[in-house]
């Protein structure tokens, strides 16, 4: 078998369960799973889990427009190092991904990336919240998720129309919302509460997120649109989503790694590395997110990877832009901080988000003969220390510098190509 690759000695794990076996890959696909397989190139997977590649529903790759902070190349390298084989790229670029032209540009740049890049389209033109973006022309090019991420669609009537219109598109799509009521947020830079009051920083209440969650649940009921809630961060949001699902509504939700690992107390340092939107919340909210992940109220862990240059973060807290890196730390944070078995973590980071993003034909498993070889090999016991200086991202704004984590991505395979080997990017 010419050009074949074997992942040797690992435990294969996907939505169907786990079994020991080597995985042989050729022509970009899995060709065999079993004992004692051989190939032209063998990568050791001893002690490791061989799983479907991870899928991030929420990353800011910054291209086009903010290449000083990240490019599709550097962001995809960080993604591959984090075990991701697919990333949904948020449309708050400059210009915004709000039509066929920018969709094509991102797709073109994604062809040489170290993971598959799926652009999300904006719901409104320029993400300005006034007029619908041409969703059909973007859907024709393969766009499966629409969002104005960075801001929520404020106009209730316009959001209703977007949801109604989406139902008539040539392919099924999901409308994803960054839930934040602009008026109630009032320019807040962190969670409104004990710490914002003490630090003298304008806050945004949990209710600013919850109001829009409540509205979109109502609109999803009205229109029947497939609705996805991005980066939910409050206990109240999660209980509403839980109730809506209990009532039979097909809404889905994601939560970020930082919303289950950090609280607003971190802002006491005034270091904008802890400034993010939605903001870091209370201990009770962190507990609710952890519970939501454990009990299934949340379908996916997303990174909300949001690179910013050092200069942008070397400003006072209220002047610095929100956002933190996430692609290289997500899996290890989930394995280290959540009290979940590894199959539970992989469900939240691989097959469940793959289904939400509509990329389940190529990503998220199962690990089976004939399937595309988009895989990650994870050493769940390997301990390491986060060092932002070593990040593959162009930016350094990780809030986890110095944190000791457990679980490392050893190899990542993209359509048969080992893009990460022994923790090193191959290109």
């Amino acid at each position: 078998m010419t050009g074949s690759l074997v992942l040797k000695g690992g435990r294969v794990l996907d939505a169907g369960g786990g079994r020991d076996g080597d995985v042989a890959i050729s022509g970009g696909r899995i060709v065999a799973i079993g004992p004692d397989l051989s190939g032209d190139r063998v990568l050791d997977a001893g002690g490791c889990v061989v799983a479907p590649g991870l899928v991030d529903l929420h990353a800011h790759l910054r291209q086009p427009g903010h290449e000083e902070a990240e490019t599709i190349e550097t962001g995809s390298r960080a993604a591959a190092l984090g075990g991701f084989t697919a990333v949904v790229a948020m449309p708050n670029t400059e210009p915004a991904i709000d039509g066929a032209g920018v969709v094509r540009e991102v797709q073109e740049l994604g062809r040489t990336a170290l993971c598959d890049v799926f652009p999300a389209g904006a719901i409104t033109l320029g993400r300005a919240g006034h007029r619908l973006a041409p969703m059909a022309e973007m859907a024709e090019l393969g766009v499966r998720m629409f969002t104005d991420d960075g801001a929520g669609v404020q106009d209730n009537g316009l959001m209703r129309r977007a949801m109604e219109y989406a139902a008539g598109l040539p392919r099924p799509v999901v409308l994803a919302q960054h839930c934040e009521d602009g008026a109630l947020c009032g320019g807040g830079h962190m969670h409104e509460g004990e710490w914002s009051s003490r630090l003298g920083i304008a806050g945004q209440p949990a209710e600013a997120e919850e109001l829009m969650v409540m509205r979109d649940i109502a609109l999803a009921r009205l229109t029947g649109a497939r609705t996805h809630f991005q980066h939910l961060s409050t206990a109240g949001s999660l209980s509403m989503v839980r109730a809506a699902r209990g009532g039979g509504l097909a809404v889905t939700a994601e939560a970020t790694t930082h919303h289950f690992t950090l609280t607003h107390a971190a802002c006491a340092s005034y270091d904008p590395v802890y400034k993010v939107n939605p903001p870091l919340r209370t201990d009770a909210d962190v507990a609710a997110v952890r519970q939501g992940l454990a009990e299934g109220a949340i379908d996916a862990i997303a990174t909300d990877h949001a690179p910013h240059t050092q200069e942008a973060k070397e400003q006072p807290f209220d002047e610095a832009p929100p956002g933190m890196l996430g692609l290289e730390t997500a899996l290890a944070l989930a394995l280290s901080e959540l009290d979940l078995p590894i199959e539970g973590v992989l469900a939240l980071l691989s097959w469940q988000p793959a289904a939400i993003a509509g990329v389940e034909d190529d990503h998220g498993g199962p690990v089976a003969e004939g399937r595309p070889a988009n895989l990650c090999v994870v050493d769940p016991d390997h301990a390491w220390t986060v060092d932002p200086a070593r990040s593959a991202s162009r930016s350094r704004n990780s809030p986890y510098a110095g944190r000791r984590l457990r679980g490392r991505v050893r190899h990542t395979v993209l359509r048969g190509e080992p893009v990460v080997v022994d923790g090193e990017a191959q290109r």
Binding site: G200, S269, P316, E319
Partner: protein, 322 residues
């Protein structure tokens, strides 16, 4: 007590640290009353002021304090600087430090800006007011003024009236007054209080008339016109009616009560014009004490005398040493 920076009242480590500053201020008040109100304590040191927000009075107070300690001063104002050209706060701070300064006095409209500067430079950083957060030297001069008038703060009932939510003075005053044993009551409409008062050692009232008779000190905060556009208040007139210290309200204060204001005053809004000139008003004393308090703070950060709290005599004698 040695501290590297003065960013918030808590940096002084509670009552003992604050008392040290007040005792040191006594010495500097004595110095400022001499015919040549100057000591050589900080000769050879350089104090830079970095003001991102206009505040002529605070800047003058710090610069006067530095000069009376024989320090060299320089000032960096935003209007004429590279900051307008997009320089980051860190680059500006490092540039100023590179000119050889020993202390940087920072005023900024963003809460926490001095904390960030302190993390980047080796020079001592003094917070001269950051956003809504703190204004520690204002609180120290307030404590000193109250102590001058009433002998101490222990057991006093102090009302802080007005826009607490957006007030750096209020946050520092609450910390300092309560550390020294005063009972602090915040008096404001709910929209002008911080969203959470968890952990604040205060009582709250929305009715000035109810709490006024028991007040030893009434501390009025400056009311800003822009609060009306944010729908925090219906009208300025309604605020003045409910929370302004009118002549009639002032008459209900005890003879020994003290009326204070951090300035600049809006006469006719938070304070009636004639009330500001009553004998109970300590507003000019606050300004006067501000220079001595800031001398004490700069001395504490940069001075190298053998005693923790030197007397005025000793400070004058240090001529040969410095």
């Amino acid at each position: 007590m040695t501290i590297a920076d003065l960013l918030s009242i808590d940096d002084l480590g509670g009552a003992d640290g604050i008392e040290d500053v007040l005792r040191l201020t006594d010495s500097f008040v004595e110095v400022t009353e001499r015919s040549i109100p100057r000591v050589p304590a900080l000769r050879g040191k350089t104090v830079a002021s970095l003001f991102y927000e206009d505040s002529t009075r605070t800047r003058m107070s710090f610069e006067t304090a530095a000069k009376r300690l024989s320090a060299d001063t320089m000032s960096f104002s935003v209007a004429s600087s590279s900051v307008k050209k997009g320089e980051s706060l860190r680059d500006t701070a490092l540039t100023i430090e590179a000119m050889g300064v020993d202390a940087i006095v920072v005023r900024h409209s963003s809460s926490g800006a001095p904390h960030r500067v302190a993390g980047w430079v080796d020079a001592a950083v003094v917070n001269a007011g950051d956003g809504w957060h703190e204004h520690p030297t204002q609180a120290l001069l307030d404590c000193y003024t109250i102590r001058q008038r009433l002998g101490g703060l222990g057991g006093l009932h102090i009302m802080i009236v007005g826009d607490v939510k957006h007030s750096r003075v209020a946050r520092s005053d609450v910390a300092a007054f309560s550390a020294l044993g005063a009972e602090v009551t915040l008096v404001a409409p709910p929209t002008l209080l911080p969203p959470s008062l968890e952990g604040w050692p205060v009582r709250v009232s929305h009715d000035l008339d109810t709490v006024l008779p028991g007040a030893d000190v009434v501390y009025l905060l400056r009311m800003q016109q822009e609060r009306m556009t944010e729908a925090l208040l219906p009208t300025l007139r309604e605020y003045t009616t409910r929370y302004g210290l009118s002549r009639r309200r002032a008459e209900r204060l005890g003879a020994g009560a003290v009326v204070m204001h951090p300035g600049p005053m809006n006469r006719g809004v938070e304070i009636a014009p004639e009330v500001a000139d009553l004998p109970q008003a300590a507003i000019i004393d606050q300004v006067r004490n501000g220079v001595a308090v800031r001398m004490a703070v700069l001395y504490l950060l940069l001075g190298s005398g053998p005693e923790k709290v030197p007397t005025a005599e000793r400070l004058v004698e240090q001529a040969g040493v410095a």
